[in-house]
């Protein structure tokens, strides 16, 4: 399919709205993406025509709801090239997927002898979770510094026989760096450590192939990939899931219950206690389909060209500094920046008046942001519907902001 950003923009109703009298320029995609009409319509269609609980009724609506819900699981499998849709567990978001792995796998498999390796650039969800596991099991939490890019020998120095888990972001939501998972996995295998990839920022923006990468766990959220909020995914290898115990209990996750005991349901239901987010799953399937129609390579290419262009523009600006711009690591469409004098919040407020939405703050990565000697940063992040012209608008607004404030 030919990538035509103007055609794509037509699919996103929200891009027609005005913000403070200006056309919306939405550059906060790393926080959450906008949704195409197809996705929005699928939620409405579900509630208008098919609403029923899943896996429970013999009536037609329940059958339709169940089929659509399970079909979405297959669409997600296709997106990440997962060979068996029983490996796909629906959760609320990437954060819940991480907590599932922590509770159902890590607490049972780690001891005070073991260690976990994460990077210094993790989102709080892939940091605090392991801090807690470390607290509960006494295991060691080791940090791989990727501020200057991923360095294989640093990783080699950190990993050892006692490493049980390497949990890394695929793409940093602050630096935009893509961590080369294909360099991590072989070494992790050598030491028999499991590899968890935080795909919250990668799955929406680039091809991610769980088979080719040969990773053990992948987590991501639907809302950053054109889907709704309140639904996320855990992918895990089947043999791991088989061995893991559920950490949430209730309906749907059981096979047989007596007053004394219960038998767990088969995968993936063992990990899906209670009535799930049915419309969320269905519309996430639609979102995955939409992305696959465009092609993840095309998505990546488009964002790459915008990011390259934006980085060049930023380098021409005085007083604005891109965090991590010195590193020539492969990077996605995230640019975090500061100004020598102006606080990010002032920049954010002034840009908002121009209809330009960016993120300001610590981006849920407090220790990383602090390591750059600042307490907050501004961040522009791109997606399929952003244009070079919007980058020009951003840069112009930044110059105006400087003139206004300084």
């Amino acid at each position: 399919m030919q990538f035509d950003v103007e055609e794509i923009r037509k699919d996103f109703p929200i891009l027609n709205r005005k913000v403070n009298g200006k056309d919306l320029v939405y550059l906060d995609n790393a926080a959450t993406s906008q949704k195409p009409k197809e996705v929005i319509d699928s939620i409405r269609d579900y509630y208008m025509n098919h609403n029923a609980n899943v896996h429970r009724g013999v009536h037609l609506l329940s059958v339709e709801a169940t089929d659509a819900y399970e079909n979405a699981r297959i669409q997600i499998s296709d997106l990440i090239n997962c060979p068996n849709s029983n490996s796909i567990i629906w959760t609320r978001n990437a954060t819940e997927s991480l907590n599932l792995v922590a509770s159902s796998w890590a607490l049972d498999n780690l001891t005070k002898e073991s260690n976990i390796i994460i990077t210094n650039a993790e989102h709080h969800s892939n940091l605090v979770t392991w801090q807690q596991v470390s607290e509960k099991t006494g295991c060691d939490l080791r940090y791989l510094n990727i501020s200057d890019g991923f360095d294989l020998s640093d990783f080699e120095n950190l990993i050892d026989e006692k490493t049980k888990l390497v949990a890394v972001t695929h793409m940093s939501n602050v630096l935009g760096y893509v961590v080369p998972i294909e360099e991590i996995v072989p070494l992790a295998r050598k030491y028999d450590a499991r590899v968890l990839v935080d795909g919250a920022q990668s799955v929406p923006h680039m091809p991610v192939d769980v088979l080719a990468l040969d990773i053990d766990f992948l987590v991501f959220s639907a809302h950053k990939m054109l889907g709704p909020t309140g639904i996320g995914v855990l992918y895990a290898k089947l043999d791991l899931l088989e061995d893991m115990n559920p950490y949430m209990f209730g309906g749907d996750m059981i096979l047989e219950v007596t007053y004394e005991d219960a038998k767990w349901n088969r995968l993936p239901y063992k990990f899906e206690a209670g009535t799930p987010n049915i419309s969320g799953a269905i519309s996430t399937g639609v979102a995955a389909n939409y992305l696959m129609k465009i092609g993840m390579e095309n998505v990546w290419e488009h964002e790459n060209s915008i990011t390259k262009y934006a980085l060049e523009k930023f380098r021409e600006l005085n007083n604005f500094n891109v965090i991590g711009d010195n590193v020539t690591q492969r990077r996605g469409g995230v640019i975090s920046f500061t100004h020598n004098k102006i606080h990010p919040h002032d920049i954010g407020t002034i840009l908002d008046k121009q209809g330009i939405a960016i993120r300001t703050g610590h981006h849920c990565a407090m220790p990383l942001i602090r390591s750059y000697g600042v307490v907050a940063a501004a961040r522009a992040s791109f997606y399929i519907y952003n244009t070079l012209q919007e980058v020009d608008q951003l840069v112009e607004a930044l110059q105006d902001a400087e003139d206004f404030m300084v």
Partner: protein
């Protein structure tokens, strides 16, 4: 100064009034006191605004005040306005001013007398239109309240 797209925005000009920008660019009373009677560091971890407030108090009068820090234009100018306003005021007056500033930021009606009392601080009114920034405006005032209401 080129304010092409910006000068047209009334809200923005209302929030970043000339007085605010002036205090932000040239904050008053920033040099620290050699022997402060009271001192407090406050910060807002979410946006990273930081202020240090130092006071000298003699016979219930603020005889010396220093406010310094780093952060957004609203928190820093508000701190500077605060310092300018309370210098040489009685602690009773200061408590009164704090109360009026809070009232103003909550969008409660305040009288002309109150406006006289708070003076230039009225310029912070524009921040009300930006709810997420009210915390920035009140950072210094909350700290001051903690400082002088402490027994």
């Amino acid at each position: 100064m080129n304010m092409s797209g910006l000068s047209g925005s009334d809200d923005l000009n209302g929030m970043y009034e000339d007085i605010i920008l002036d205090h932000y660019r040239n904050p008053r009373n920033t040099s620290s006191l050699s022997k402060p009677d009271l001192e407090l560091d406050v910060n807002n971890p979410f946006c990273g605004d930081e202020l240090k407030i130092q006071l000298n108090i003699k016979d219930d009068t603020i005889t010396g005040v220093s406010v310094s820090g780093q952060g957004c234009a609203i928190s820093q100018s508000s701190g500077s306005l605060l310092a300018e306003r309370i210098q040489d005021s009685s602690t009773d007056t200061v408590i009164h001013v704090i109360e009026k500033v809070r009232k103003m930021m909550k969008d409660e009606p305040i009288s002309d007398d109150d406006l006289d009392l708070i003076g230039d601080i009225e310029a912070l009114q524009g921040v009300k239109k930006f709810p997420v920034r009210i915390k920035c405006a009140l950072l210094g005032w909350s700290a001051l309240e903690d400082l002088i209401k402490k027994p």
